[in-house]
Symmetry: C2
Subunit: 168 residues, 2 copies
């Protein structure tokens, strides 16, 4: 049985929930409030971030990219022609590049700021970095999002699927 | 022939140079000044970051993690018992976790700030974000580094090698 420590609004958690859905894998979802820094959760992932996938017999798997590689290594072949990770080297490079683009670069420049300012900070005590959203941070994220939307638009216009000619 | 677009002071570039050295692979090094945002470089990696590995017959490979996976997939088996990526699932999870820890988390919390403030900003025009180091950013990075040194210390004390019982 798979257990996913996640948050509904965390973009990297959503990426993993979608991947699990594509694999058709049942999963027990545990909503983790990373800002509470629970000791049991930090023991699973000292980085203190969602998502973390837990499966008996393996160490906890932290982070969207490592979870994607793990799912491909353990169940990728079962998906046959619907395998999410391409089998050719070039396709793998492009999928990894775009996973990194959205889960790391887009997160750093846009989504982490929105999630933190708009959602998580409501639950964090004021003395601990919580409180009202920081308008300057939100403005920067909103300014960055335009470049990302342009890039996504270009990818969509120039390809059948985001990462290339076939579905990944 | 492999070409690595890198910068001597970029930590993720150093990670890849060390990996290439372990593989015994000759490489042509091209020093990239990412702050100049060269069009030819952006065509290789629209994210505009080092490192980028280029090999004929494959798309350019951006980022330390994707390069590590590519080297393992194309040459890992040649290293036999010295293979950097473990063959067991648990070992792979731990190596990927630590690659992400140092190349992303440590970078975000410590090294990117030091590299940007102490080195890159010297070369960036003042009107474009360059100039003197921002002392508040440097102070935050220096404060964060203590937690990372503690964590590295714990890893070293509790294991034979950073990522586990054997060399990776």
């Amino acid at each position: 049985m798979l257990t996913l420590f996640h948050h509904p609004i965390c973009p990297q958690s959503r990426f993993v929930r979608l991947a699990l859905e594509e694999y058709g894998l049942p999963v027990r979802l545990v909503e983790e409030h990373v800002w509470e820094r629970r000791q049991e959760f930090l023991a699973l992932n000292p980085a203190g971030t969602t998502p973390v996938l837990v499966e008996e017999g393996a160490p906890p798997i932290p982070g969207a990219a490592a979870i994607a590689e793990y799912l491909d290594e353990t169940r990728g072949a079962d998906l046959e022609n619907n395998r999410l990770m391409p089998q050719d080297l070039g396709g793998r490079i492009e999928v990894r590049r775009l996973m990194s683009w959205f889960n790391e670069k887009f997160a750093e420049e846009v989504s982490n700021a929105l999630v933190m300012e708009r959602v998580y900070k409501r639950y964090i005590p004021a003395g601990n970095g919580g409180g009202s959203p920081d308008t300057e941070t939100l403005r920067a994220a909103k300014s960055n999002i335009r470049y990302h939307l342009d890039y996504i638009g270009w990818l969509i216009r120039s390809r059948d699927w985001l990462a290339g000619a076939s579905r990944t």
